[in-house]
Subunit: 450 residues, 2 copies
């Protein structure tokens, strides 16, 4: 009842988590998330290596295709005007491939923004966690200081005023002890004080890395977009030098695409393992990093009926002591004020302090309850395991599409280029204009070849 609806692994997480994993000796590796284990690292590296294998195979395929095309061309009669049949098909397939690449770029932009959204959700949840933990610390400090101040000033004044009647002094002493006991109990509630792990720092680190990841993808996407557009322009204008430069750039982007695909696939696989059951891993990691007890961590990370509040006893004791202080102050007011009117001022001040402390105590109870922190934990997991993973899969789709499109383009470009009518010079200063008559004529010749 207390816990809000939390994080549940999505279908993508289940699907990716069920894929088989193997180490370098191809022995199966269990798919539990264990980044510190060598076997698991090898399994992820193997995923990257698969992308490298894909790159190698596609490069070999392109090379074989182009060598076959160059060396096994049927001899043409010199001066033949009609280009070999199938040339149009080559150009069209190149254009279609580049358009598929452009669609992939659109998907890539979407995936990049989705991943960025997910990661920013993670860091804002971490910021909220930090805010809550800091608020607990500050609140406890404020309450303790307020109580100690009351003990130092009002209660001391009261003891001095009531000195003639020893039983009233004893009651005041009792109140002092209760107040000191409350202060001591409260200090035990600031459980994050002195913990070396700062969620703020983690959030800043995550944002820092994410910023560069985002920028790198945007640059890659823009590079590929420029390559696609300039290749299309080169084909339309039959500019040999542009097509040659773009072929080289396509090769570069192909390598980058396969590289990013390897990284994305490995990250997606690792993330799916993490996301299929994040509680245990995060619990252990946080225990190691913070040195906090299992009861506290279980309470916040699980936050269900089965886990009892580890601060329950301290809270109950503080609450009872505060109630006792209240009844003692009321007793003192009844007994002492008629006889010692000067006791009224410190008593009223003490009651005011008690009211404020009780208000703060309720706020502290609310802050310490697992509900708020567990909600942030759920939001962080949803950001990472839903939005960021989904974005990563879109980026994977982009890499796949662009690798396929670029490989097709690399196979077609030299063939399309061979179909361009020979020109005397490579000086493209003037004949870049598609609307000048000469260029129009060349364009017609090229189109007639299609």
């Amino acid at each position: 009842m207390g816990a809000p609806p939390g994080y549940r692994p999505s279908a993508w997480v289940h699907l990716l988590h069920q894929l088989p994993r193997a180490d370098f000796q191809l022995r199966p590796v269990p798919s539990g998330f264990a980044p510190q284990e060598q076997e698991y690292q090898q399994a992820l590296l193997l995923v990257v290596a698969l992308a490298g294998l894909g790159l190698g195979l596609s490069l070999i395929f392109i090379a074989v295709y182009l060598i076959r095309f160059c060396c096994c061309r049927p001899p043409e009669p010199p001066g033949a005007k009609s280009p070999p049949p199938g040339g149009g098909c080559v150009t069209w397939s190149c254009i279609a491939a580049l358009l598929v690449g452009c669609a992939g770029i659109g998907i890539g932009f979407y995936g990049n923004s989705e991943t960025s959204d997910g990661v920013s959700q993670l860091s804002s949840a971490l910021l909220l966690v930090d805010h809550t933990l800091t608020a607990i610390d500050h609140l406890v400090l404020e309450m303790v200081e307020r109580l100690e101040e009351a003990v130092r000033t009002e209660l001391t004044t009261l003891e001095e005023v009531l000195a003639p009647r020893t039983e009233l002094v004893a009651a005041t002493r009792g109140t002092r002890w209760q107040a000191e006991a409350v202060a001591q109990q409260l200090q035990g509630l600031a459980f994050w004080r002195g913990v070396p792990l700062s969620p703020l720092q983690v959030a800043e680190d995550v944002s820092f890395v994410e910023e560069y990841r985002w920028l790198a993808y945007v640059l890659l996407l823009l590079l590929e977009l420029l390559v696609c557009l300039f290749t299309l322009l080169g084909l339309a204008k039959q500019s040999k030098w542009l097509v040659i430069v773009m072929t080289v750039m396509s090769l570069l982007v192909l390598v980058l695409s396969w590289g990013s695909m390897g990284l994305e696939a490995a990250t997606a696989v690792g993330l799916s393992d993490f996301c299929s059951g994040p509680d245990t891993y995060i619990l252990n990691l946080t225990r190691e990093e913070t040195g906090l007890g299992s009861d506290i961590l279980n309470y916040y990370f699980l936050c269900n009926q089965a886990v009892s509040n580890p601060f329950q006893q301290r809270l109950t004791l503080s609450q009872r002591a505060l109630a006792n202080i209240h009844s003692q102050l009321q007793g003192l007011e009844r007994e002492a004020v008629p006889q010692f009117p000067s006791a009224q001022k410190p008593l009223l001040s003490l009651e005011e302090t008690l009211n404020v402390t009780e208000g703060n105590f309720h706020q502290l109870v609310a802050l310490l309850h697992c509900r708020g922190l567990h909600k942030d934990y759920g939001a962080a997991l949803r950001g990472l395991c839903e939005d960021a993973l989904e974005g990563l899969l879109f980026l994977l789709l982009f890499s796949l599409l662009s690798a396929g499109a670029l490989a097709t383009a690399l196979c077609s470009l030299p063939r399309a280029w061979a179909l361009f009518p020979p020109s005397d010079d490579y000086d493209d200063t003037d004949d870049d204009d598609p609307f000048n008559p000469q260029e129009s004529k060349r364009f017609v010749q090229w189109q007639s070849s299609i």
Copy 2:
């Protein structure tokens, strides 16, 4: 300190909120959100009317352009082979316009998904609010039932057992009164009981409307995508009937684009007014709908140091009563158990009930604290005023781009169509194939005209 970082109006909200508004008589209207006032409704309708004006102007422009093109064509010598100059420019501008339209469609898909994200964030926040309010109700009910059960059974047994000693019976009666007082105080904390407004219902309504809005946009986007692609196909294949059908479809989509632009602009303007200062409006609306006191609503909607917890007094009184019950039970245990061993069992059972009630009390304090509900309120506002508004602006950009692109295409298409070489029949069964020699020849003729 207690309140988590909340919602702040974004730059877009400020910008849109500062635009001047006017009613039908063009008198300025204040830009505070007041959907029930006629003047404000007129201001929003005027925004829709502006889009209608835009549609009218663009239709007039297209008509004038096409009439001028049809009637003021320079006379051509019969049998002239070269098409009029500028024909290539017309076709290229049409293709460029359609490509801009396609880019706009990509932006539209992004905006639609962003709006959907924002609205789903709103409804999930509402679901969380409903969860919290229901949890408070259930918890109060459970605690009250537990206390009443204890009063009925254990305390009655205890009174019967301790009947021989009247001062112990009196102490037991005191405990009974305290327990009854706690139950009464607790019942006052279930503030949402009997309130006619259900956040769950609101969330379901919002999701229902959003589902259809999303679907309508997806259909519009797909329709426009199909129109763009088929128009490009018609241009490439010089299929007259396809271009004619697509011209008519473009006209339809142009009207739809202007219509959606009007709705988006009015919604964006209204949303910016709402988002620039949502607290007052939502406070008033919730007060009217729920009949709850201003103190409770202010506490949850503002949740800062200036607003005190309206449940503070009840909570403090319950807490003190619980502490009193505890000390009374301990007193009874000390006094009664040595003399009446049969009192031990009900006393232990009562202490157990007290412990559970104190645990539940801490949970209730946490649930009642404004922090959790205010966080959900902030998340709902961020969803609506950041993500949904941003998505809406992207949709507006899509509508603008597509209206511009379609208007350009509508101006160019009839001119491009007039440039198609005349064919004897409109039978497109075979000459649709771009690779058959006849089609190739026609394509070359058309390309030579560019």
